[in-house]
Point group: C2
Chain length 433, copies 2
């Protein structure tokens, strides 16, 4: 790096990793350009609560500019990076503009992976950003409205009972299939079952929302594969209690409009949601360096690229080895946050030409919620499930809503929502059905 002027650091992505890094460099002699395609940081672990009408987008997102208002060494740009010209130390935006950097950190995250079947996406949307969540919320709510319209119209027009075709359509509208038994799939299936079986109860005069069918489909033998076996079993029991049909060791063979093929069975469903796999940001392909099967950049023990030590990759975009287990680190917020913290130290050390050891992940535990007041958690060697685990989950998530000035309001709304099961954000805001 040029010693005369302050180095220019470009961070791509304002998620947990990028945000943590930029904030930790507040007093460092470095000029930071943070580029994100959204104008906000998103508290992704609670995204499924927006998709299921418990929280508003404003509760879990915060404008990046507001976060960095008083941090003078950060400039925020809302834009898309299309290409990394690693040899020239430049990035290129979709507009064609090229910015030079001294140091680059790619924290661009991941999108859903459809295992080579990208055509499934339009029928089985996933959940990564606010637009996804609002679309999913709309889809769930509209399904119930359409079902009610079908039944009530029959009654009000006086045209008699539902035909066999109508019955089939009704069943399709009230069948929800969630693909993928990781934390997102488990949380989503639990929340949809609660909407159908509790929240909407008594709100319809024609249909009975609690007859809705919610399926959770997973290819592996257990739910929550990343957790120890007993937690997957607890999750299965809790979901079954909520009325979710859990199907493990079941492969999704095809996703069509209004139907999904699971194993040999064709299930009519107008709502199929995808929580099955991730693929890292496609930007990484432009590096020309080794990627893993999930498209993540393979990084050194200091999170840099072997070929380009001035480029680091963190979070869901990185394939970094956990030295405790020898396996790649999972794509979860605590990994990204710790990598951001480490990289801030690293960049400061580089400027001072001091050495710094390799990155080490400290596993504080993992947890997932299963509907209201129930969760599973692993902390160190201890496993928890039920209400205690849920309280822990709630507390830790709210603690992490750092920088969200409305943390207290979120907590209140959320606890209130859980206690009363109200889900008042059930809004269909798009112009058309």
């Amino acid at each position: 790096m040029d010693e005369k002027k302050r180095p220019h650091l470009i961070i791509i992505g304002g998620g947990f990793g990028g945000l943590t890094l930029a904030r930790a460099l507040k007093h460092a002699p470095v000029d930071i350009t943070l580029i994100d395609k959204a104008n906000h940081h998103l508290f992704q672990p609670l995204l499924y609560q927006v998709a299921t009408a418990s929280l508003s987008p404003g509760n879990i997102a915060m404008p990046l500019r507001a976060i960095f208002r008083s941090q003078k060494n950060v400039r925020v740009l809302m834009n898309r990076v299309e290409y990394v010209l690693a040899k020239e130390k430049k990035i290129r935006l979709v507009s064609g503009d090229e910015f030079p950097y001294d140091r680059l950190v790619i924290a661009a995250g991941a999108r859903h992976s459809y295992f080579g079947h990208d055509e499934w996406e339009k029928n089985a949307p996933g959940l990564k950003n606010l637009a996804d969540a609002l679309r999913m919320r709309q889809k769930i709510l509209v399904a119930f409205e359409k079902a009610e319209a079908l039944v009530e119209s029959k009654g009000l027009t006086g045209s008699g009972a539902l035909s066999e075709e109508n019955q089939k359509e009704l069943k399709r509208l009230l069948t929800f299939v969630v693909v993928g038994g990781g934390p997102t799939g488990v949380e989503l299936a639990g929340a949809i079952a609660e909407i159908a079986h509790n929240t909407l109860k008594k709100e319809f005069r024609g249909i009975k929302p609690d007859t809705a069918r919610v399926l959770l489909v997973e290819g592996a033998p257990n739910l929550l594969g990343a957790f120890p076996g007993t937690l997957g079993e607890s999750a299965r029991k809790a979901l079954t209690k909520l009325g979710v049909e859990v199907r493990t060791q079941s492969a999704v063979k095809n996703v069509m409009f209004d139907a999904v093929e699971v194993g040999d069975e064709l299930i009519g469903a107008s709502n199929v949601f995808w929580a099955a796999g991730n693929t890292a940001a496609s930007l990484l392909k432009t590096l020309g360096t080794p990627l893993d099967k999930a498209g993540r950049a393979i990084v050194e023990s200091d999170l840099s690229l072997l070929e380009y030590p001035e480029i680091s990759v963190i979070g869901d975009a990185a394939h970094a080895i956990d030295y405790a287990t020898g396996k790649p680190l999972p794509g979860v917020a605590p990994v990204a946050i710790q990598q951001g913290q480490y990289l801030a130290k690293k960049i400061k050390a580089e400027i001072q030409k001091k050495p710094l050891g390799a990155f080490r992940y400290w596993d504080k535990g993992s947890m997932a919620t299963i509907g209201r007041g129930r969760a599973v958690a692993k902390i160190g060697r201890a496993h928890f499930s039920g209400f205690i685990a849920w309280l822990m989950w709630s507390f830790i998530h709210i603690m992490y809503l750092i920088g969200f000035r409305n943390r207290f309001a979120v907590m209140t709304l959320w606890m209130y929502g859980y206690l009363t099961n109200s889900r008042t954000v059930r809004l269909i805001t798009a112009d058309d059905l």
Copy 2:
């Protein structure tokens, strides 16, 4: 009405009028079908606060089904009514389904009127529902982001100063024109000026948001034409202080993409918003009964149609005479609410075959806010302006958030937002810029 069975009342529209009516008939021996194209009731007076990022949609909207959950004589349908077949006592949905009624109340509200220039709508959107508000919020925020991208890209690519063409584009991006000097236009212009001149200050490194230009254009000589003259003058002063250019007696001659023609001047502006006129729901045209210039149905003193006494029209869809002034009643929430209350009494009286006098509007006053902590109000013969008027405005609006379980949360967020000027709901949620 048939005395053997309970009469079937269809209410079209779940706004202030329709909602008040349905709730007031809770214990009446009548079966109610409430049809709305949205799934929620909207607290429209605060809609501009969603458009300007102070409140979330969930704060000012409530699912209709949740409101009527325990009112057994109401069924809610989310649908569009296309036609009233008044002679057959039926309504027809867009789906083609026809429902018979014994009694019909049309409370379908109004849309913007472009005075015969419907082609202006795409360049100058108005503000009637949540989708409008979210689109407006997005448009305002994206304008600042695009301006910043223009300036910062020049700096980061090292391609030197802005060209004359760039300067012009920058000016266009940061010019906001609000057409219409009624309460909505005044409130919107004030809020946009606050965003530019206060909220976004210090959040951009390239542009200076406080150089943004906000114009309010009105054809009449005074702002707030429905209010007495002195309040219009107070509003003008307050807006000018906030940095809004107020142009009264100025006609909009054309709205183009990225420009608006005001009088003889062509003003480059990528954000033009419409708050100039209303036209009642087009459904009213299918009645075949007299409408006024604004498309509103002309109703009798009991709010029914002369030709069809079993049909009543209320709220923004009705042209009803105020017996105190001899002029038509304005399209404001208090009128719709009082008409809903009156009609509930009327329908109960009809069932009991009792007479009921004509509708009388009781004017409790009117008010509008002009930015943070400032408002104008008229209550009886007294006029108020400034902070006292704003406190009154806030109190009355929050009082009216009846049925909104999150009333207290809204009040907290809102007061907090006003005090800190934070506007944390500055989210761009659509997928693309």
